[in-house]
């Protein structure tokens, strides 16, 4: 066995009882109130998306419930010129970087606009191959380094991704090339039905940094205060050329891997209850209440506002469904080859015949 836990002690500032065990650091009480408001909205959205799949409105959906603090913290220190390279569960992180929340629904619906990132927002569209994006993150960070831009890139991925070859190639490339990148692992403990202990024989993901000659950190991923402060520090250090870094945010997926599996088949309720008590929303709520910054009435208002926002997103989503299927042919190549143009014409005739 290794001594990974000893080497990489869990960084925490706000415990699960909502007590501050460290400093607020770069955060303020007001900013935390705002964070909580966003978190609450994100939770509402995520739960609604789950229901939408059950109603057949969208296809398979990967919920992020429980990982809000990790995802929000991961991007907390990024500015407009920085990059986020997310995986398919990171709708909270992408949303904070300016990707409209309906993209999470587009992704599950297979709507082509799922990757239509607003111009100026430096986020890559989600893709599903586990760990493939870690190499893209290295490439993006490498490009910014070659152009001498003072820019940080964050690439996010799950614990299962650290078993993939691409993750190791990415770690190796990043360290050899010294790119300004933060590898941000949302260790949610489960790769579908396989627990971390069956995913790897090491104690922590953070210790994998040692093999690549870079600094690693293990942070309580359900503690927004700790994650956000760590990422502020590391983002600045990355901009100063000290990267790359590996961050293991220890969190938990409170629900299923996707709408297609049932966690009841592979994990116990005791574990789920334990992690339920560590819910990132609960602890922030406890702290805000203790500060007198949150009341029951306000929560009622927050929920109403969240529901309202989700309804607005759904309206945009429904509106977008009228897109012409001919779009499928428009972005395969920059200029459509002749044979594809002829297939497009055949498809168009078929669409007219059977209806879109």
């Amino acid at each position: 066995m290794t001594d990974g836990i000893e080497m990489f002690p869990l960084i925490q500032r706000l415990d699960e009882e909502g007590n501050l065990t460290g400093e607020l650091g770069v955060l303020s009480a007001e900013s935390l109130k705002e964070t909580y408001t966003t978190m609450r909205f994100l939770r509402t959205f995520d739960e609604r998306a789950w229901n939408l799949q059950r109603q057949g409105v969208i296809g398979t959906y990967a919920p992020f419930k429980g990982q809000e603090a990790a995802q929000m913290g991961a991007v907390a220190a990024l500015n407009d010129s920085d990059w986020l390279v997310p995986t398919y569960r990171d709708w909270a992180a992408s949303y904070l970087r300016g990707v409209p929340m309906e993209h999470g629904l587009f992704f599950s619906k297979g709507h082509p606009s799922l990757g239509d990132i607003p111009v100026g927002k430096q986020v890559l569209p989600a893709q599903v191959v586990i760990a493939a994006q870690t190499l893209h993150g290295v490439g993006v960070a490498w490009a910014t380094k070659l152009r001498h831009e003072n820019v940080a890139t964050v690439v996010t991925f799950g614990d299962g991704a650290t078993s993939q070859g691409d993750f190791h190639e990415a770690m190796n490339f990043a360290s050899v090339l010294e790119v300004p990148l933060i590898f941000f692992c949302e260790n949610n403990q489960w790769a579908i039905s396989v627990p971390l202990a069956h995913q790897m024989h090491a104690e922590t993901i953070a210790q994998r940094s040692v093999a690549y000659g870079i600094e690693g950190f293990r942070v309580d991923g359900n503690d927004y205060v700790a994650v956000a402060n760590l990422m502020h520090d590391l983002t600045e250090r990355v901009r100063n050329g000290e990267g790359p870094f590996l961050v293991e945010a220890v969190t938990y997926r409170l629900g299923a891997h996707t709408t297609a599996d049932d966690p009841g088949k592979y994990r116990g309720t005791e574990e789920e209850d334990t992690w339920g008590r560590r819910d990132p929303l609960l602890r922030l709520e406890k702290w805000l209440r203790a500060q007198g910054l949150l009341t029951d009435e306000e929560l009622v208002t927050l929920d109403a506002e969240s529901e309202q926002k989700v309804e607005e997103i759904l309206a945009i989503f429904r509106e977008a469904l009228s897109m012409s299927p001919l779009v499928l042919f428009d972005n395969v190549y920059a200029t459509m080859p002749t044979n594809l143009a002829s297939q497009r014409a055949q498809f168009e005739a078929r669409v007219k015949e059977v209806g879109a």
Partner: protein
């Protein structure tokens, strides 16, 4: 005008591209100080430095995957995969990533990158080094597949590939790198992608090939003229995706016969696609079935049986004769 080999022409193209556009970077295993195992990047490291001509760690998926990121963030990577057979290790990053960037992002991002790889057999290389796997990529929407067969095309096609806004797989016929020289203009010029070349005009049978197989197709054409008084038309496809169907169909409508030649194994090879296009678009002109001269459906054999396994000129001549005499 200087007479250059394919290897020299490619080197010149890379040098011009690096000089023309600061966003172009060359990366891969041993491409820097060593100048590449086939010396295609020779001298570039000294001229452009380690930030433009980059020796990467030994990891094919890493090379292509980071190139995808570089390209999405505005660079123009030209990645070398040392031998085409190692492309399997990059399949996800090419087929599921590079080729889909534009589609996935509804045109918001693109991956203007080139993946260069030595292609084809006949040089007595170890296992997996000589496989012809072009059909894996012609079967992959979103990527272009280009393969020159002579020095002039090699330079012009590579410069076009680097200019191209989409990912391009650029396959270099390993056996022809230094097989002969041709006149190659020193200045930059482009040979357009997607345009086949009618290398030789004829009336009796259309011989279709690409990359390394062009050497035997041309030799067979000479033999058909000299010994059998048959006039073959020879087409070098140059680009497999997008395919210049028009040139193929026009030629076959004229000659009424076709033979397709490739080194790749027969089943599901690109030759089947060509035959199918001819059947769909020139059926009533045909006087004989479309024939294929290909490798066999076995793993590529190493050194010992390689020459026996590979298609050769005599097989192309035999196929052409059997088409004409059908």
């Amino acid at each position: 005008m200087a007479k250059l080999t394919i290897a020299q022409a490619l080197n010149q193209a890379l040098e011009l591209a690096l000089a023309e556009d600061p966003s172009v970077v060359v990366l891969g295993e041993d491409v820097g100080k060593d100048g590449g195992v086939f010396r295609i990047t020779d001298g570039l490291f000294d001229k452009f430095g380690p930030d433009r001509v980059i020796d990467t760690p030994l990891a094919e998926s890493g090379i292509v995957g980071t190139s995808v990121g570089l390209a999405m963030a505005g660079m123009k990577p030209v990645a070398e995969i040392q031998f085409f057979g190692f492309i399997y290790e990059t399949m996800d990053q090419i087929a599921s990533q590079a080729a889909r960037v534009r589609f996935r992002s509804l045109g918001r991002y693109s991956a203007p990158m080139v993946i260069r790889a030595p292609f084809g057999g006949g040089v007595k290389a170890p296992e997996i080094h000589s496989d012809s796997l072009e059909a894996l990529f012609t079967h992959t929407p979103g990527i272009k597949v280009v393969t020159p067969s002579n020095p002039y095309d090699a330079k012009g096609l590579l410069l076009s590939a680097i200019d191209d806004p989409d990912p391009v797989l650029f396959l270099e016929p390993m056996r022809l790198y230094r097989a002969f020289r041709d006149e190659v203009p020193e200045e930059p010029y482009r040979v357009p992608l997607g345009k086949a070349s009618v290398v030789r005009e004829g009336t009796d049978v259309t011989l279709i090939g690409w990359g390394p197989s062009m050497a035997l197709v041309l030799a067979a054409a000479d033999e058909l003229v000299a010994q059998y008084d048959i006039s073959p038309e020879v087409i070098d496809l140059r680009t497999l995706t997008p395919l210049d169907e028009e040139t193929i169909v026009t030629s076959v409508q004229k000659t009424q016969r076709a033979v397709v030649v490739h080194e790749a194994v027969r089943t599901s090879g690109f030759g089947g696609e060509i035959a199918s296009i001819i059947q769909e678009k020139a059926f009533l002109y045909l006087e004989a079935p479309v024939l294929r001269v290909t490798g066999y459906d076995t793993p590529y054999p190493m050194t010992m049986f390689e020459d026996l396994w590979l298609p050769d000129t005599s097989q192309v001549v035999t196929a052409a004769l059997s088409s004409v005499r059908f």
